[in-house]
Each structure stands twice: as C-alpha cells, then as structure tokens.
C-alpha cells in the first residue's frame, strides 16, 4: 500500500499571445527554472466529477469544454467547491463565449450558497491555447487574479492530468508584453462525508459493469477493520527491517511509534471487560425497546382496522 505525496510536480507551460520574436524566446529560457509561487489550490472532488460529466455531454464537433469555477479565496490558498459549464464556440480564428449565460448561472448559484464567488475557469484538454488567453482576460474582469484549471480528459499521457495556473505579465514593460501562466500546486481536499462517499465509490472501479450497490453495515465494519490491520502489518514489517538493520532508523518515525505505544490507555483487563459488557447491555436494551414499540404499533394497527 503506497501513497504518493499530495503535491503534484507540474512542468512549466508558457503561453505567448504574440508570435515569438527572438527576444521573447530568450526570455522563455531565462524563466525556465521558475519557483512555484502563488496560492495553493484546493479542489473538491465534486468539481472534477462535474467537469468530466460536462465533457461527456459536449456538443458535436466541440473538442473541449469550458466553464466557471466557484469557491472561496484567502491570502494563501484558493478553495474550489463548485463549478458549472458555459457554452462556447471555438474555431481556428475566433472564440465566442456566452457571457450572459455565465452571469445568469452565477446569479442562480449565488442564491443557494451566497458565500461562493467566481475564482477562475476551467477547460478540458492538454494545452493552453491562444484562445485561453482571451478567455482568461474576460475572467480577470470578473474576479481578481483568476486561476485557470486544465483537466486532460483526452488522457494524453495515460492519466488525467489536472493542473492549475495563474497568469502573470511577462516581458519588457513598454515593449512586447506577454502573458505567462505559472503553475500552482494542487491539493485534493474533502469533507469527512465526501471522503466516505468517494471511498465507497472507489469500489466501482473493480466491478466489471461499473456498478456498485450500497453495502451492508457489517461488510463495511469488516472492511474498515481489515484496513487497520493492513496498516499495522506495514508498520510491523518496517519495524522488523529497522531492527534487523536493513533500513536506517529514522528518529521522527521512532518518536511517532513511541507516541503510539503511549496512547494506549492503561486499563486492566477486568475493567475493560466490564465497560464493554455494560455498553453491550445498553445496546441490547435499546434493541429490545425498539422491538417492543414495533410490536405495540402493529397491535394497535390491527385493533384499529378491526
């Protein structure tokens, strides 16, 4: 069981709105090693699910879909919590976006959640094209410093790459000025309940018909216990490796282990058993009461209907 770190390494993608002059290309190389600065982008999975869905429903002939991102922003991070798609037409020379529609939808959404504001826009597809720059300009009128998100639904690199950018001015002031999209780090963030929902739905990947029923309670308790067991065995194998000298001992990991062992509350076996038994007795009593009320109601029904 292995988890990749939460930050994604995103390569730098420039987009120039004018045809490149040699001077600009020189700047291109100068900015090659760019520190990633700008806000951290936190995305909720509901946004990605909506984007994929609107991509699947796109019009005939459209190669990509765009839409507005809604959410909240503070000094260091931007949290994307909702989105809606906006109809647009794109051809070689021009791009037309239905602004009225975007405004209307935003008003409607605001009625439900007044705290969400426009924080950027998204587009499906791998590259940032020139049209993107124009659309980005429109969105900078709606929101301060909008972010642009691309979702690669065409799976160009065998994976759905999700990236976010913020635009900044580039070039020599007074002369040729360009717009550059600097990448941002993305983090997936969940509410607790969202997490549970997504974890449950991960199982649809395994089933061949891509369906999944909602499982019974007992099965879920069993799977949760199984997960904890797996984690314990991973830990134990690591400890054994350290003890036998195969892996270097890491002090911070050792400190965590110490915390772990110290967290076990000091209860004697008899105390624990008595606590457990009294708890079970409470539950059994409640079950009994529930059955009693059910029998009472059924009886009442029969008497009345008579």
């Amino acid at each position: 069981m292995c988890c990749c770190p939460a930050t994604a390494r995103i390569p730098w993608r420039p987009a120039l709105s004018f045809s490149s002059s040699p001077f600009v290309i020189f700047l291109h190389f100068l900015y090659k090693i760019m520190a990633v600065h700008g806000p951290l982008v936190k995305i909720h999975p509901v946004v990605l699910a909506s984007i994929v869905d609107s991509y699947e429903r796109r019009n005939e002939g459209a190669s990509r879909v765009i839409g507005t991102l809604l959410g909240t922003a503070d000094k260091h991070s931007v949290e994307v919590t909702n989105c809606f798609s906006v109809p647009h037409n794109e051809s070689e020379d021009e791009v037309a976006v239905d602004m009225e529609f975007a405004k209307n939808m935003y008003e409607l959404h605001k009625k439900v959640s007044p705290s969400e504001v426009i924080i950027g826009w998204y587009a499906t597809g791998y590259d940032i094209t020139e049209h993107s720059v124009l659309i980005h300009e429109y969105y900078s009128r709606e929101a301060p410093n909008p972010i642009h998100m691309t979702v690669d639904t065409a799976l160009q690199s065998n994976k759905m790459n999700i990236r976010a950018y913020v635009s900044s001015q580039m070039g020599v002031p007074g002369k040729t000025v360009g717009v550059m999209f600097t990448p941002l780090t993305i983090k997936y963030i969940y509410y607790d309940t969202e997490r549970i929902g997504v974890d449950l739905l991960q199982r649809t990947r395994a089933s061949p018909s891509r369906t999944n029923g909602l499982t019974t309670d007992l099965a879920q308790v069993a799977s949760a216990a199984g997960r904890v067991q797996e984690m314990l065995s991973t830990m134990l194998s690591y400890i054994e490796d350290v003890l036998s000298g195969k892996v270097m001992a890491d002090n911070s990991v050792g400190r965590y282990l110490m915390d772990l062992v110290n967290k076990v509350p000091k209860i004697t076996a008899e105390d624990f058993e008595s606590m457990l038994n009294s708890n079970i007795n409470d539950l059994l009593m409640v079950t009994y009461l529930a059955n009693l009320t059910q029998a009472q109601i059924a009886l009442n029904e029969k008497l009345v209907v008579l």
Partner: protein
C-alpha cells in the same frame, strides 16, 4: 409501474453531500431537485441542483421561477432537464412528515417513476454512505388522490404503516472516464484521516435517536388518546339516540291511548351530530417513522468485534488508529 432500481452517478452523490455540508448545518433540512431519465425499468439520475433555504427576508423569491431558470440554463449545456424526483436530508431518520407526503404525492402524480432520495448525513459521518430512495405505494397514492383520511377510508384500503413507502435499491453507475478520475484521486490523496466506522463510543448518537423515538411515542399516544375519546363519544351518542327513540315511542303510545295525534318523527340525525373522526393519516405517519427507523445502528456489531477477540489487543488497535495514520503518512513522506 414497477421500478427495479435507481442508478445514481458519482457527481449527484457528491453534490448532495456538499450541499448539506455547506448549507445545512444544524437540524435544518436541505432540499433539491433530481434530474435524469427513465430507461426501461430503471431510473437514472444524472444531475441535481439544490434549492435555496427559505429565509424570512426573501419574501418575493419565486421558487418556480428559480427552477425554470435553472432547467432552461442546464438544457443549453446538454444536461438532462427532465425532472425525476427530489432529495432531502434528514435528521436522525425523522423525515416522515405530512410535508414529505404531500410533495412526493404531487411529484408522483405528475411523473410516474419519481422518487425521493433521503440522505442521512449523521449516519454517513459514522462511516457508511446512507442514501435511500423511497416512493409511495400505489395504495397510498389512491388514498391521497381521494383525500379520504378518515378511519373508514383507510380501513377500506387496508393500509398499515408498512405499506406506505416502498424502498427502491440504489446502484451507483459510473462511466470509464470517471473511473480514471477516481484512480487519479486515490493516488494523489492522503490516507483517510478518520475511521469513524470503528469508533466504539456511539452512545451520543444512540441517546439522540432514543430521544427522538420517545418524542414520536408521545405524539403517538396523544393521537391514540384522541381516537379513544372519539370512540367513547360515538358509543355514548348511540346510547342517547336509543334512549330518545324509546322515549318517543312511549310518548306516542301514551298519546295514542289518549286519542291525540302522535308527535312527528323528528329528524334524529340532525339532533345528534356524530363527532368528528380524527384524521388517521398522522397516526400512520408517526408509525411510519417507527417502521422506517426499525434497523438499529451497526453499533452492536462494532462492539461484538472486540468482544469476540481474545484479550484487549484489538481494543488497543482501535484506540490507536489516528496515530497509525500520522505514522504511515510520515513514513511514506520520509521514504520518498
């Protein structure tokens, strides 16, 4: 019309969860509309949108207009704009009410296959996604149509509290692209923080559920009391009627013997108005809450897990789950 199952897409589930999380804190219910299609004997729900909360300072807000606007806009982006039902969140399972019945009846009357999705956020936070789909049974539909809620009407239709709602199984269906997305999410996200499912201390929720159950029982006993007084009044009235009739006959006999004309037969029914039969619908609704709520929480299964194991080793494990997560995360981050 028989509905075999309800197919729900990932984003509908996530949107409902998000709506409650952001706008429904406290014991308020959140509601919204479900959109989708009917395919043979399955109901496919492909999208949904929330309803704003009712606020006092928004008197001129027009719900119907909001809905129309929303559906028109969604049609532009090729989203199914067919209304197939609605969803509501619930507080500890107490969603069976007159309002729900009325709304579901109007939906089901207009659209044959509509369902109401009930989302239980508290049970979901305990570890298992709790989403159920309900419809009204055909018998109940007929009764609602005639609006005959008296005891005789219900007796005729033989409705007990078990026959009010029928549950339709929910199946989650995703496209291949969504599966790729899920794969990506799983790789990039950290290990789940909380394993609420293994939490041994469920007494808080148990208390609240019991409290609500007791309230319902109080309502029910009041209702039963009302019905009993009605029965008593009815029988008393019958007796009085009999007595009056007897006296009348005696008087008439006396008068005849004296040669006077008999008194006219008065309209007895006008004199004794039968008492009002109380609406039985509320009783049924209360009983319905009980019936739907019948399944106890998995807390008992949770407790039996450590009880059947030897010693208290597993109990230690369950206490340490949080530290285990921190540990695994740091180990992975450190080793990369």
């Amino acid at each position: 019309d028989h509905l075999l199952c309800v197919c729900v897409r990932l984003q509908v589930v996530l949107k409902i969860i998000k709506h409650y999380q952001e706008e429904g804190q406290g014991s308020e219910v959140v509601q919204g509309v479900l959109l989708g299609l009917v395919v043979e004997d399955r109901l496919e729900i492909t999208n949904c949108f929330p309803f704003p909360q009712h606020t006092e300072d928004d008197v001129d807000f027009d719900e119907v207009q909001y809905q129309m606007e929303m559906m028109r806009s969604l049609r532009h982006v090729n989203i199914d704009h067919l209304h197939v039902g609605w969803y509501q969140s619930t507080y500890y399972g107490s969603f069976v009410s007159r309002a729900l019945l009325d709304s579901q009846f109007s939906y089901q009357h207009a659209i044959e296959e509509s369902v109401v999705l009930i989302y239980d956020p508290i049970k979901t936070a305990q570890g298992s996604l709790c989403l159920k789909a309900y419809r009204l049974t055909p018998k109940l539909m007929e009764i609602c149509k005639e609006k005959d809620f008296s005891p005789e009407g219900l007796k005729k239709a033989c409705i007990g509290y078990e026959h009010m709602f029928e549950e339709v199984p929910i199946v989650i269906k995703n496209s291949h692209l969504i599966n790729v997305l899920l794969l990506d999410l799983q790789e990039k996200s950290t290990v789940a923080d909380k394993h609420e499912l293994l939490n041994l201390s469920s007494s808080n929720h148990l208390e609240k559920s019991l409290q609500l159950l007791m309230d319902r029982m109080d309502d029910m006993s009041q209702d039963i009391g009302k019905y009993n007084t009605y029965c008593r009044n009815l029988s008393k009235q019958q007796q009085q009627k009999q007595q009056y009739l007897q006296r009348r006959q005696q008087e008439n006999a006396q008068r005849q013997s004296r040669g006077e004309p008999p008194l006219p037969e008065e309209d007895i029914s006008k004199m004794f108005k039968p008492p009002q039969a109380p609406a039985r619908m509320d009783t049924l609704l209360i009983a319905g809450t009980r019936g739907v709520n019948g399944r106890r929480s998995p807390s008992i299964k949770r407790l039996f897990l450590p009880a059947y194991s030897t010693g208290h080793w597993k109990f230690i494990v369950l206490c340490l789950k949080e530290s285990i997560h921190e540990l695994i995360n740091s180990a992975m981050n450190g080793s990369v």
